[in-house]
Amino acid sequence: MRASGKLRLYIVIGRKVPTEKEPKPVPYRMRIFATDTVTAKSRFWYFIRQLKKMKKGSGEIVSCKRLYPKKPLTVKNYGVWIRYDSRSGTHNMYKEYRDLTEEGAVTQLYREMGARHRARATSIQVIKVEVVPDAKCRRPHVTQFHAKDLKFPLPHRINRSLHSPRFTTTRPLTTF
């Protein structure tokens, strides 16, 4: 999978195709983070194959619907449990992110794993995503935002618009 753009949360339900031997196969539901429904269904089959004796060829997707974010206008701490393949083995990890939605947190995760561990999206499996209350957060880069009356100045601001104007006679301002 290519985790391009913002990931979305899909609820995918699939089951084996009903046969004479098994007229009412058990449907299974999974929460899949993917870029679109096509990728979501594909990832569903990837996971379900590992967990159950089910394949895309002999199965069917009952439904694949987007699960819209809950309370997308409040900042939350997300704890993400993942399993990923590195170059020399497979490891479990627990990461924390501050974001407004699960989807945003998982998107941050994929970006960070690519940056810090060179892990490609296909080698990452998201096990669980949960909202973590402030007191239970473990990572300092998240807990530093839980301080009461948190405030900080912007002492030295850098002008990133280097090309508008590209040539100028005035030195850049560091306070704006």
Binding site: L73, T74, V75, L100, F145, F152, P153, L154, P155, F176
Partner: protein, 150 residues
């Protein structure tokens, strides 16, 4: 005596903080680039080092996440609890009458002047050029006279 002198200096230093404009909950900011550029908003919560959750119910900014880079910090501040709802933000902003207070700030005046300059027509630009030339001429002749007399 020396110890007392150092202490009083420290007290003066601490009362006049080096930085006065903080990124904090309730700080009114001016959005200088992005979707809602040119409008003011209030910081409702801090997401991470580079993102803030802002809201501007009295200025037409919906509750959204903006990057720190997009903002210019003003001197204005309202007292709101962290992560509070838009309704509460609106009541506090109207109580403090932030919109008129912002119009009095230098930032707002500069932004207005910039917008006015960008909206000048050809004739207005001509008039501006003529008035500039006239003023500069007067200034130059005055300085020359002063130089000659000194």
């Amino acid at each position: 005596l020396q110890h007392y002198f150092i202490q009083s200096n420290l007290r003066v230093f601490l009362s006049k903080m080096l930085y006065q404009r903080f990124i904090e909950v309730g700080r009114v900011c001016y959005i200088r680039i992005g979707d809602h550029s040119g409008k003011i908003c209030t910081i409702v919560d801090l997401v991470d080092q580079k993102h803030l959750l802002v809201d501007g119910p009295t200025s037409g900014v919906p509750r959204c996440v903006v990057r720190l880079n997009q903002l210019a910090v003003t001197d204005l501040k309202v007292k709101i609890p962290r992560g509070c709802k838009t309704k509460k933000v609106r009541t506090e902003l109207t109580k403090e009458d932030i919109n008129t207070k912002f119009l009095a700030t230098g930032l707002s005046k500069k932004a207005e002047a910039k917008k006015a300059k960008a909206n000048l027509g050809d004739f207005d630009r001509f008039k501006l050029r003529v008035s500039k030339t006239a003023t500069n001429r007067k200034i130059r002749s005055l300085t020359r006279q002063l130089k000659k007399s000194s």
